[in-house]
């Protein structure tokens, strides 16, 4: 019998951009046997795939892009796997559970960046790049400064994201599987190093695909189980939810109240998504622009479907978990009243899995949550390792004279290095308030990576000077405004009032970035600037037609 007396904690740290903190004591659980068996199945299956992939990963191109032979459907599924993190699954269903309609607002924000990626970025990115988005940004600009900045933006995004994932992973696994926090973090780190170093992009892609399939299947089952309970009538489900929680769950409830925050959040989500290095890197795994487009089409479908499921799951949790004595945190209720659930709002989906499918399905969903974290950290680490080996080592340090084998060796060493950094960061940040890190990662991606990428592809007058100074300024503004904002300045540093009043800096930092890149570029009259502008035509023709683009390698 599995001990159901969970004492979960708020996993607000990984709750996307939603605010929330990790507080209180975490109590380690008894071993959850069915979850562990299913998790072991996943791990042995994926390690088998890694072994298979390792035999097919011979060149640098194999390592970074799986040889460029992934199909649009596979890549779409893998992109969805990258994007549907444990944070999306638990965080958004938890937000719906807590606030109803407001959760949907977040989901929509996370989705609408995808059509823009398709219309504006996917195709030129595929046509111009090889392994990293810095390939595109530095296509006609000076390699050393542009690659250094792009790598800095990538590595910063990756490490921030990794911290959030590792801390979330440690707590989640500790709670679901009854492992020690440190053991859980080390386990995630070691498995991720194994997948990426030995299996490269091919193994990482298949881990993503399998995980996306498991997550979509599990979420579909939960949503159907909930709907079946209400004869597949949304109106009955909503009526039941309103009966327990009141009419407020059916309409916007002030999560995004002032216009500036609303627009700033929208900017961060849309442009940030288009500047995430691990997402951008996925476009190099397909053979051509046609498959790149299909990737986004399928990914948008899977992600949109998933968000509709999380909405149903959140409402399902309102009617089946809220006020259900089996899932109530009685100790907390005795102190603060109300109906606090065990582990906090982000455990709503996990409790619901037990309510609709018993211990066995709870084990399945727990294992899927663990698999989700593993897949996401693998994709992140590969993107970070590529920035180190391809951008910094091969292009900046070796000036483009590194051979493929030594470049691949460096990226494997970088993978191990990033894995170790992630483990130490995960342990160091265990007790820290990390609610700001994912927001900061999105802000940096939106303010540094995205403007440089976008302008380098479409704006003839962009110069190295403009990109480097303007991009750096955008990055610095994003970091400064997060530090001076309400989460870090008030909640963490304990000051009375925030110097910068908004939680999301993107509207300001993205504007700073675009305006300063523009201003510094148009005032750049150097010969170098003229040469770079002269090269725009050749770049544009290639970006539009794909003539000269990287193809798939033969296997």
């Amino acid at each position: 019998m599995i001990n159901r007396a969970f004492l979960f904690l708020i996993l607000g740290s990984i709750a996307v951009l939603a605010s929330g903190t990790i507080d209180g004591e975490i109590v380690k659980q008894d071993l959850n046997v069915s979850a562990i068996i299913m998790f072991l199945l996943f791990v042995s299956g994926t390690l088998g795939i890694t072994y298979w992939a390792a035999k097919r990963t011979k060149s640098a191109k194999d390592f970074y892009t799986a040889g460029g032979g992934i199909t649009g459907l596979q890549n779409g599924m893998a992109i969805a796997g990258d994007y549907m993190s444990a944070a999306s699954f638990l965080g958004i269903s938890g937000l719906v559970y807590l606030k109803g309609y407001d959760g949907l607002i977040y989901s929509i924000g996370f989705l609408v960046g995808w059509p823009l990626i398709l219309f504006l970025i996917a195709e030129p990115l595929r046509n111009l790049g090889k392994y990293t988005f810095a390939d595109v940004a530095s296509y006609r600009l000076r390699q050393t400064p542009i690659r250094t900045l792009a790598a800095a933006g990538s590595i910063a995004t990756v490490i921030l994201y990794l911290i959030a994932q590792m801390v979330g992973a440690g707590k989640l696994i500790q709670l679901l599987f009854g492992l020690d926090y440190e053991v859980a973090v080390i386990l995630v780190g070691v498995l991720m190093i194994l997948y990426v170093t030995f299996g490269g992009m091919l193994a990482t892609t298949w881990v993503q695909i399998i995980k996306a399939f498991l997550l979509l299947s599990g979420a579909t089952f939960m949503a159907i189980a909930v709907m079946a309970h209400y004869d597949f009538s949304f109106n009955s489900l909503f009526t039941a939810a309103v009966d327990v929680k009141g009419i407020d769950v059916m309409s916007p409830g002030g999560l995004v109240s002032d216009p500036v925050s609303a627009i700033s959040l929208a900017v961060a989500l849309m442009f940030g998504t288009a500047g995430l290095p691990h997402i951008l890197m996925r476009f190099f795994t397909v053979s051509d622009a046609k498959e790149a487009r299909k990737s986004v089409f399928f990914a948008t479908g899977f992600i949109g479907y998933f968000y509709i499921l999380t909405f149903i799951i959140g409402f399902g949790a309102i009617v089946m978990v809220y006020q259900n004595p089996e899932y109530l945190d009685l100790a907390k209720q005795a102190i603060s009243g109300g109906y606090p659930i065990l582990g906090g709002k982000n455990m709503a989906a996990i409790h619901l899995s037990h309510a609709v499918g018993g211990d066995f399905f709870l084990g399945f969903i727990s294992a899927v949550a663990f698999a989700t974290i593993l897949a996401v950290v693998s994709g992140l680490t590969l993107a970070g390792a590529s920035a180190i080996s391809h951008d910094l080592y091969a292009s900046v340090f070796k000036k483009g004279n590194a051979d493929g084998q030594s470049e691949m060796r460096v990226s494997k060493m970088a993978t191990v290095g990033l894995g170790i950094v992630a483990i130490f960061m995960g342990i160091a940040f265990e007790q820290q308030n990390i609610a700001f890190v994912v927001g900061l990662a999105f802000a940096i991606a939106a303010s540094a990576n995205f403007p440089i990428l976008m302008l380098s592809m479409y704006w003839r007058k962009l110069t190295t000077r403009g990109a480097v100074y303007g991009g750096s300024l955008g990055l610095a503004t994003a970091v400064m405004l997060v530090i001076l904002g309400p989460i870090v300045w008030v909640q963490i540093l304990g000051n009375a009032e925030a110097i910068f009043p908004y939680k999301y800096p993107a509207l300001f930092s993205v504007t700073v970035s675009f305006v300063s890149i523009w201003l510094i570029s148009i005032t750049d009259n150097s010969q170098n600037a003229k040469d770079e502008q002269a090269m725009f035509d050749a770049q544009y023709v290639r970006s539009q037609t794909g003539i000269g683009a990287e193809g798939a390698s033969e296997h």
Binding site: I105, V112, P259, R293
Partner: protein
């Protein structure tokens, strides 16, 4: 790609047509997505009660629910429309350009 080839492709009417049609289409689609999304977000910021109107008298389901779901479906439909057109019409033009280069 050498400068001569670049000039040749730029002078190709098919290339000019490709760039013009596709850029126009991509911009139109992007604007459609942005307008729908920002209309939604700004409604929430300025007049959230507009989304709280019940669909039927006495019912609990608000108009905000189908609107939210529709935006998700809308985003997906836009990607489908673009992908379909790009993978046929635009790719045909691209192939025509490539072919004209091979023949010369």
């Amino acid at each position: 790609m050498n400068q001569e080839l670049v000039e040749k492709i730029k002078a190709n009417p098919d290339y000019q047509k490709l760039v013009k049609t596709r850029t126009g289409y991509a911009v139109k689609m992007s604007v459609a997505m942005l307008v729908v999304y920002f209309a939604f977000i700004l409604t929430i910021a300025f007049d959230p009660s507009a989304l709280a109107v019940p669909l039927s008298d006495g019912g609990v389901t608000t108009i905000g629910i189908p609107i939210g779901m529709a935006i998700i479906v809308f985003a997906f439909v836009l990607t489908g429309l673009y992908t379909k057109r790009a993978n046929t019409e635009f790719d045909d033009l691209t192939n025509k350009i490539k072919k004209s280069l091979g023949e010369n």
